[in-house]
Amino acid sequence: MSTVVDEITHRQHVGTVDYTPKDFKAPIDVRWCAGCGGYSILAQVQRIMPGLGIPKEKIVFISGIGCSSRFPYYMDVYGVHSLHGRAIAIASGLKIARPELSLWIATGDGDCMSIGGNHFIHACRRNVNLNVIMFNNGVYSLTKGQYSPTSQQGQITKSSPLGVLDDPFNPASLALGSGASLVARGYDGDPKNLQYLFERAAQHNGFSFVEVYANCVIYNDGAFDLFTRKETRNEHSILLEHGKPLIFGDNKDKGIKLDGFKPTIVSIADGKYSVNDLLVHDEQDSTLAFILANMTYNPEMPRPMGVFQAIERKTYEQKVEDQIAYYSGKPGAGKLENLLIDEDSWEIK
């Protein structure tokens, strides 16, 4: 007997799948502060959605709690605004149940890495095919400005008036170390790259983690300016592109060269080194991904943006499907009588 869920799972979309970004705008007002980094993330997500060619009814956004987690209300697809930290746990259950759905998670640095840290690392290692967008604003905004696990040492917040003592997480390293198969970083002020990263996440068959530097104009304004503002970003950030040498700087005159396992900055303008000496990015090299992610809090190095790693490996939900197909496909499998009556049963006549 086929279940309603089976039937809905296999239902064909009626009509063509032909959307514009507007079709993904839910009919309610967006309530973030003017200038909040969330607006750009929302706009880029809505912009890439039509190109994915996925029927709207197959798309689900799940979030936790935080400013960022308001996100699902603004997307005209299926959505759940859940509990602080638990979006990934809820989405994992949904994805295992319904692997055909396109599952997206909007989460904050606190939501994902503090209260939800356990679910995050375990979803990374299981490789559940979820697309996690983490709005990193380096602060707990919804609760009005306490430090978060990505706040920097010394940062002044409501709960650290004398400066933060904690060392921060480096989200990319945490994700890589936990086994995430796609790990990327972008920032709110670079729409093109954000669109690219979200598309990559959508296309990646596995757990995708996209950290987005999202400016909170109220509680941590300008935290990422060095890496995101026109005046400074060329010198202080570097875009990782698969198969390309690592070049940065206002005049594209600097590059990253590996000295053993240690990345170093070299000039390619003074004749000593050329482009050919530079490190060439390889998304499939997980050792390299660790090295690059580790540049994050090194004040000497430019902040890496782009895709650190994209490695395909079988998803958790696929393994579940395979196991079920194998055992339910055996001759005589799935008979409920055998579940009810076993070798220890007896009959009273």
Binding site: I8, K56, E57, I62, V80, S82, I90, S328, I341, W346
Partner: protein, 612 residues
Amino acid sequence: MEKQVQYLEEAVIRFAGDSGDGMQLVGTLFSNTSGSIGNDVNTFPDYPSEIRAPEGTLYGVSAYQIQFGQKRINTPGNKIDLLVAMNASSLKVNLPHVKKGALIIVNSAGFDEKNLRLAKYQKNPLEDNSLSDYQVVPLNISGLVKEELKDSQISPKYVDRTKNIFALGMTYWLYDRPLHHTEKWLEGKFGKKADILASNKRVLKAGWEFANTSEIFKTQFKIKHSDMKPGYYRNITGNHAVAIGLVIAAHKANMPLFLGSYPITPATEILHFISGYKEYKVKHLQAEDEIAGVCSAIGASYGGFFAATTTSGPGLSLKVEAIGLAVILELPLVIVDVQRGGPSTGLPTKPEQSDLFMAMYGRHGEAPLPIVAATSASDCFDMTIEAGRLAIKYMTPVILLTDGYLAQGTNPWKIPNLDELPDIHPTFVTNPEGFAPYKRDPQTLARLWAIPGTQGLEHRIGGLEKEDITGLVTQDPANHQKMVDIRAKKIENIVNDIPLAVVEGEQHGDLLILGWGGTYGAIKDAFDKLRSDGKKVSYCHLKHLNPFPKNLEQILKSFKRILIPELNMGHLRTIIRSTYLIDSIGLNKVQGLPLNAYEVEDKVNELLKVKE
């Protein structure tokens, strides 16, 4: 030798030995055989909490107790009529449970110097007359099996391991049970290993013959079979019954099953069973913690699955916030709490009923949900179906309370005909015409259920308060009041959809015993005994704890005094008082032990002496 025959109504036996002696196995085989000849049976395993306790030690003793009989058997029994003890430690640990004058068969090979030392016996109890209150039969069972299998090819070590089967054979003679059910089981188990199969069968038969021919056993006990209804039966533990119940409930709802769970004693076996059900297309996640267990289940439920999460007290504590989410999302979810002694890690393997308050009140905000409880191991099946029926029909999380005693004990389960079980009807909608996520079925107040994948019904839900019908986020004061009222009303209305409470004995009078959940067997035994002694007392047992059955207030008001026995410090008593302004007398016990019938009897007798 001429043997005497004595007819009994029921008997209690206990197999006890070292963890490695196979006591759980022979206990299970004995109870299955007893069931198969039409006795009613109730069992309880008593094994060490250490995983591999050192051999021969007091804390390594593993035992299995069985009460079987002609009439309805409600508990594994109290005092033992026959103890089989494989070594000194198992005798020492179990002796306090043995009736004076009862038969004790000991394996004398387990009473050597080392075993006596490990059992902390100064002198050999088989030789110092300290057991003169009992009929002790010391037998060198190790030697007997060695003799029996002396020409066999199997290793001496394995030969010694058949002692449990020899002992089982003896008990089959003593209580006049056939061998074939066990022989059939051995064939299924060792069919491919001819040597081992033949040895076990020989030893089983040898045990039987030994008891039959030896001068030692002068009496054979016979127990008539009960008039069990025709049908298929099996002995089942509460945890197994829950696992099967979840599969069947999902089947009756025509929905796929998902379990999100994290291992915890004494609930873990449910996860074990479910994880093996891939052929039934059951999905499960052994989550990283209990929070992820319940949250993944909520995710699956959102996706249209019949979703469940299973746990025990500490895990329920962790799940509380997410259960509240399920309440406001109005998504169906079955939460099984196999209660154990608390607080904190408490008594992990021991039963208690001390999670009723948490089930009832343990969420922030106004978050009522239905609570049901199982009365026996096999009843865990029925109550799992009931929990699933209420969850799906009313779009709500439901808590099913069992306990460590039901979870591991067994009794015969009459395997149901699936057609006779109630169908469960989810409220799925697929038509976008006039759809709104918080539109409700006017009868049940269950909201309409549109799952992802349904075109045109895309909508958002969440933990923020929702506007009635539209589901839009709102903080409107009147709306919050309205939604709280609706959610409460939805649960209250279930009262019209659950069975009335039943009173055994007079329908009104002086004294009513009111029980709930897993103490049924003990209270029922006590009640039957009191009635046969001519005592005027009535009995009502609850399986629905929220809402209570419609007639409960009327019942309670029909008695002058109410006695509530429970394995906590008065949860039901407090709830009854706050619900109906009716006071009652508590019989409260939190010792990590099940309730005993005699405790209820004593209390009732004491109360009946002082007439009110």
